[in-house]
Symmetry: C2
Subunit: 275 residues, 2 copies
Amino acid sequence: MTDRDPAATRPAYFVSDSTGVTAETLGSALLANFPGIRFSKQTIPFVASESEARTVAASIAADAAEGREPLLFITVKQAALRGILSASKATVIDLLAGHLTELEQALGVTASEQLGVYHGLGDTDRYFARMRAVEYAIEHDDGQSYRALDQADVVIVAPSRCGKTPTTMYLALQHGLRVANYPLTEDDLPAEGLPRSIAKYRDRCFGLTTTPLRLSQVRHERRPGSQYASLEQCTLELRRAEDLYRRNRVPFLNSSTKSVEEMSAVIMQTMKLRA
Amino acid sequence: MTDRDPAATRPAYFVSDSTGVTAETLGSALLANFPGIRFSKQTIPFVASESEARTVAASIAADAAEGREPLLFITVKQAALRGILSASKATVIDLLAGHLTELEQALGVTASEQLGVYHGLGDTDRYFARMRAVEYAIEHDDGQSYRALDQADVVIVAPSRCGKTPTTMYLALQHGLRVANYPLTEDDLPAEGLPRSIAKYRDRCFGLTTTPLRLSQVRHERRPGSQYASLEQCTLELRRAEDLYRRNRVPFLNSSTKSVEEMSAVIMQTMKLRA
């Protein structure tokens, strides 16, 4: 898990006693503020013993001996392991310990040493709801099934290749929401109203659009040189889809400049959904 | 986005100038260390103006006036907005600012005020690779397609309902890995070797197993009272699957006690995959 050209980069270690998801996510968010520096990132999950912590420290010492000045982001609960890592030859950014102390003071209780495995099974009801939401999303991907559409928290509507599927999966996996998605076809688009199978769920519909150029590029990847991928066809479908959204007061978003995380946050906010 | 019984809980706000993913993830990880306290969590994304920050502060003031002592986790880059939020009547846990200062000192440069939108499109190549990985995962879900199996970074193998699909989606969406999955059927299980369509990818295979009881429960949800869901059938299939993994030196994992995040981290570590 190291980059190809380590000599030109600054080592950044994300070390965790659990999955490393938190260390990697927040560490990367912090490093994104320093666009002028290249980092060689390495995530080391499940560091749970002193010998494993010492192995990490040895790797850091080797980097430091080459003059590469490593950074070390840690989310490790055991004080003994934090001690070994903090004594390593890196700049140590402890993502949990300081904030835990602040919280202990605010809440007037001591943090549990047992629990706090946020990325573990944790609240199993919530966990299995997320897993069921993923299955629901797959069953309802691209209008495959209109059974159980009444169970959908949201129905994402868009012409083919506007980003419905990844957004659907993200909302399911991250937030446990039941998301169906419906592909607007040419047959649907000249009509005034929403397609019949989703019309009665209008207040749960959220539309996506994109730019004609972007859509044409994405469609050419799938079916090079097709009428389906032509700029004219894409322009026409997007214009009609946007008209359909407006006429039916379906909120919509342009996916060409937004990530799935951003789109998901907007959709949840607009539709007043909670995880 | 508030809990149902706010009076019994302590308000925890996750406030961000972007999606709120980081604030919510790390904030929740921190709160998980205080299992004795119930929190009513509220994520407020896209707080980008002083008036929006003041609206949040007013909501916090209303909680505080009721004696509910709110917590406020923030990931907000603009100093003016941080100032408004920090002056609110909450215990403020600033998840970025302190660490950014540490990093500025270590790196000897000032953090960019422009960039750092980690959950935005960011590195678009990487972003579109993640989106393509989601499509690849859907096309190869449950052995649907053996085309392009040679492009898989990993092939997850398991009997039906052992957790292949959510793990596959997580690896694709979070890490941009191309993951195929293959359902072991009864026909596959008495054999010595791996099923023909995946045999030549043995070194990319990773197996899942679970406990017979858990598998039986999950299968009963899908097909109540069926032979497929019976404890005997589940016990038999799992024993044979584990034998198959061992005989073919396919690493494997029990999914009954691990989250998709944990399984994904183990799979990446075992198969030496990087995002």
